[in-house]
């Protein structure tokens, strides 16, 4: 078990009597799709390279073999086309789960998502809707350069009608993906690819500890869900609230450990709809708030969080709200670790926030 997680509050698993295997995040996502393909004949999976090959990150491995060509297949390389088709199929009554190979390649589909998927229910006054789930790996830490590292969540949190979900561990990944697939609204499901195979504390020099050593890799084989819209306190503390999601949850925990600051770390898990109660309760208690995300700073989701904390907790705040984010540049290949907001920057922000 990596050190920061010794303080993790155990997952509330309704694991009944089932033997609980260890899964990494890829296996957990695969298991979620497997469960849903078995449960609901209207669920189908498509995307670039997801069929026979099982996806470039192997998230759909074995699903075509198990459920047949019709249930899990490759699409032409057109993100706009495949999202458009998913909307049409979703409106017909299916539940498409589509993969955009990298979040960096989602832009051709932006119009279909923003103008179509997000608004279909509204503009038809509930006559039509499309319950699609869009899975996409996002974020850095893998030397992927500017076209395999971006964090695009704010481009979607800004759009009324889309839900946005980001898991930080295998247990949540499976439970949240199942909830996303069952949800009747379009859900953007961004997967922190740096966490696919192992947790990552933001220190590349540290030896990688596989998910199997982590408590949240205990993932029930069968059906369960983690509700959308619910954050999770992953470390209790009194001095300062840290709001994070995805890979940054692990970085925040590491920073709390390194700094010795008694930080309360909240894993938001769903950005829209946001668990505002969890945030306000914590900030009202600590009076201080540090927001951490990998995405560029300007108009990032941290700006929204900062505004909300200010609106809801102004009279409890004892220090300016801090944001630790990616720089406002494209993600530069050679400067992976100068760009990635690692524990050192979070530690500095924690210290500033508590006035140390």
């Amino acid at each position: 078990m990596s050190a920061p997680w010794s303080e993790v509050i155990d997952p509330d698993m309704d694991a009944d009597t089932e033997v609980i295997p260890r899964m990494n995040m890829i296996q957990a996502l695969n298991s979620a799709m497997d469960v849903m393909l078995a449960k609901d004949p209207n669920v189908l999976i498509f995307g670039e390279d997801v069929g026979y090959f099982g996806g470039v990150f192997r998230a759909t491995e074995g699903l075509q073999k198990k459920y047949g060509l019709n249930r899990c297949f490759d699409t032409p390389i057109t993100e706009s086309g495949l999202i458009g088709a998913a909307i049409g199929m979703g409106a017909y009554g299916l539940r498409p789960v589509v993969e955009i190979q990298f979040a960096d390649y989602i832009y051709p589909a932006y119009d279909q998502l923003v103008s179509e998927a997000a608004r279909l229910r509204y503009r038809s006054a509930g006559d039509f809707w499309a319950p699609l789930t869009v899975r996409s790996p996002y974020g850095g830490g893998i030397f992927g350069g500017q076209t395999h590292s971006q964090s695009v969540e704010a481009l979607f949190t800004h759009v009324a009608g889309l839900k946005v979900v980001i898991p930080s561990n295998p247990y949540d990944a499976k439970g949240l993906l199942i909830s996303a697939i069952e949800d009747d609204d379009p859900v953007m499901f961004f997967e922190p690819k740096r966490l696919y195979n192992a947790p990552f504390d933001g220190r590349p020099e540290t030896q990688v500890v596989p998910w199997a050593k982590h408590p949240l890799s205990a993932v029930p084989q069968g059906y369960y869900n983690v509700p959308l819209g619910k954050a999770k306190t992953v470390r209790a503390g009194e001095a300062v609230t840290v709001l994070a999601y995805g890979a940054m949850v692990h970085v925040a925990l590491q920073a709390a450990l390194e700094s010795g600051v008694d930080a309360e770390v909240i894993d938001l898990r769903t950005l829209v709809p946001l668990d505002i109660d969890a945030i306000t309760q914590s900030v009202e208690k600590t009076g201080r708030c540090v927001i951490v995300h990998e995405a560029t700073r300007t108009s990032g989701f941290g700006a929204e969080l900062s505004a909300l904390v200010q609106e809801h907790c102004f009279y409890h705040l004892e220090a300016p709200i801090e944001r630790v984010t990616g720089w406002d540049t494209p993600y530069p290949h050679a400067f992976e670790w100068e760009y990635f907001p690692g524990p050192a920057r979070v530690v500095a922000a924690l210290r500033r926030a508590i006035g140390a």
Partner: protein, 412 residues
């Protein structure tokens, strides 16, 4: 109507998967020399047979035959051969460098060298190419320093791209090589725009766009053809059909039902389908399209029918989705091997000379790599300076980026 069958989806599948025996005998490969060469002012409609056929020059006896023979002199042929061999040696070296941990990623163009090399020999250096990541042969054929290409791959202190781009995403305006984007398809319409710029200014430069078979599915492909047709842009629109798009075969992009070149005709553009492993055919078709563009007759779509002989990239293992021996079974052979045999058939070349040339290019690449590694690799040694990561986001640095640069500097 009651008796009509239930509707069903068609999900295309490649003919061979791992474990299957490869047999390409069903592939319709016309003889070399049979395709007619129309005048450059041919109407799009009249190119139908060329779009559905296959322009080939090198025949079974390794002779150049037919109307498309570009009749190149021996020196040109040898230049082409050398550039293709250098490209392959470069790819092999950089692939190994990635395996040795000297960089993060690499992409080879093995088996497709004729495309970039022959085309760059036809085009002028001030024509602009809008390549994908598989046209490194353009830079190599034009004599761009190998050391600088390697510096880019290593993201080192001398990287012309200052460590910002993933390996192989080169850029060189001087060499007519537009900055490569990792986003597929986007540059196809930009090539048309560049050509429109030349036409707008009344210049005589043309442009060449490149797109993979898989990427023709992107909207940008259709945008490019539409603009090229509507504005009669002086551009060559190349579809490099190497049969695969990572793990998806060309049928997933609709290339089995109708050849990619045939897309052209609906846009009123001539379409040529060319044996992409035949250096002479690629050269001749490109020359025809370039003449057309320079004569203000507009764009041509060329499908280069080739085969991706190796994995998609260093992150890929093609044995997971296609038979390992599929590449060897490709009936159109290898472009280097075929040009080599042609030169031998002409009596001006020998296997011994070929071996000597091979040693020469390998040595050239080795020496360049040694030189480049003095400037560092991604994992070791000198790096670009960190402050530069905040440059060029805008022409002038706004206050917020300046502040971020200062924050980073204070951290280290």
């Amino acid at each position: 109507m009651k008796n009509s069958p239930a509707l069903s989806l068609r999900i295309p599948e490649p003919r061979f998967r791992p474990g299957d025996t490869v047999d390409f005998s069903n592939l319709n490969i016309p003889e070399a020399g049979v395709a007619p060469r129309p005048p450059i002012d041919v109407s799009a409609k009249e190119t139908r047979d060329l779009a559905y056929g296959l322009i080939r020059v090198l025949d079974k006896e390794d002779r150049a035959v037919g109307a498309w023979d570009p009749k190149l002199d021996i020196a040109m042929l040898k230049r082409g051969l050398e550039a293709m061999m250098l490209t392959r040696a470069y790819d092999d070296r950089m692939y190994r460098a990635q395996r040795q941990g000297k960089t993060s990623f690499y992409m080879k163009c093995t088996g497709e060298e004729a495309v970039a090399v022959a085309q760059s020999m036809v085009l002028h250096r001030d024509d602009m190419c809008f390549p994908t990541y598989r046209q490194q042969g353009i830079l190599i054929a034009r004599g761009y320093p190998l050391v600088d290409m390697m510096n880019q791959v290593y993201s080192n202190a001398a990287d012309p791209m200052k460590g910002r781009q993933l390996p192989v995403m080169y850029s060189s305006k001087d060499y007519g090589f537009f900055s490569i984007s990792g986003n597929l398809g986007t540059q196809f319409s930009q090539a048309v725009g560049w050509a429109m710029g030349s036409a707008y200014k009344g210049d005589d430069k043309i442009a060449a766009g490149y797109i993979g078979d898989g990427s023709t599915a992107e909207g940008d492909f259709h945008h490019a053809l539409t603009f090229a047709s509507v504005y009669r842009a002086p551009v060559i629109l190349n579809i490099v059909n190497n049969q695969w798009a990572i793990s998806s075969f060309h049928g997933i992009a609709g290339g089995e039902d109708a050849p990619f070149a045939s897309r052209a005709i609906g846009y009123n553009l001539p379409g040529l389908r060319v044996d992409g492993n035949d250096f002479l055919a690629v050269y001749a078709a490109t020359q025809w399209a370039a003449e057309r563009a320079r004569a203000n007759l507009g764009a041509t779509v060329i499908e280069l029918f080739t085969y991706r002989a190796e994995g998609h990239s260093t992150s890929d293992d093609p044995a997971r989705y296609r038979p390992a021996e599929e590449a060897k079974g490709w009936p159109l052979g290898d472009p280097i091997e075929r040009l080599n045999r042609h030169l031998i058939a002409l009596g001006v070349w020998s296997d011994a000379e070929q071996d000597a040339l091979h040693k020469e290019v390998v040595e050239e690449v080795r020496a360049a790599a040694k030189e480049a590694e003095k400037n560092g690799t991604l994992s070791e040694g000198k790096r670009p300076s960190v402050e530069t990561m905040f440059d060029d986001v805008y022409k002038e640095q706004p206050w917020h980026i300046r502040r971020q640069a200062e924050e980073l500097a204070a951290l280290s």
